[in-house]
Symmetry: C2
Subunit: 99 residues, 2 copies
DNA sequence: AGTCTATTTTAGAATTTAATTAATTACTTA
DNA sequence: TAAGTAATTAATTAAATTCTAAAATAGACT
């Protein structure tokens, strides 16, 4: 059974908002392949590591991203299948290209 | 053929951003059933009509929403199937409820 | 302990966003 | 043409977001 999206707009809007920043969407794209450290993300996404951490925090607080610590590396990953499905849907819908 | 989402993050992030406000997501939900006037939207979404118009403008500028004028009513509607599919995906993913 | 590396946290300024109110436009109808 | 309705635009203010730079934390290594 489903509840209407209308009953959950606040939650869903907050979730979308946490994903709708170029740096954050870039991070999510990177994490599709599996967990990465802030340093690995920074090597691909050109901004400061402080900035990467801040954006990771926003998504962590929203529940998009999980972290685990190992030595002095912190590995971040997409926290659940739903987020991954959403990202894949975005790609299918908006990145289709004619050959 | 697909291009990677990574090549389109700026565009997709901007699109998501235009949808990730509670009032705007509420408007999109309402428009799933078909076009509505600002007045009709206002009767369901409790805010001023100026505010409704402003949010409609944001989505219109982003290409989510189209408008047509008839007499002194302006009917707004979801501009394309992709947006509708995305909204339905959000509902399926995040509004599923156990019976 | 001291140093190095990886990361996070904090504080600040600059920018953007959002809501409110008032004024304006466009159309209809008496 | 004047009044009424629907919607938009503009201006203001308040609030939230973002980036930068500096300081702080945590673990690894010597």
């Amino acid at each position: 059974m489903k509840t209407d999206l209308e009953n959950n707009v606040d939650l869903v809007a907050a979730l979308l908002k946490s994903m709708s920043h170029p740096v954050r969407l870039r991070i999510l794209c990177q994490l599709r392949d599996g967990e990465k450290t802030a340093g690995e993300l920074q090597s691909v996404i050109k901004t400061t590591n402080a900035n990467i951490t801040q954006h990771l925090n926003i998504m962590r607080n929203q529940g998009c991203i999980s972290s685990r610590k190992e030595a002095n590396y912190i590995y971040s990953s997409i926290s659940n299948q739903k987020i991954l499905t959403l990202i894949n849907t975005l790609q299918t819908l908006f990145c289709e290209k004619e050959k």
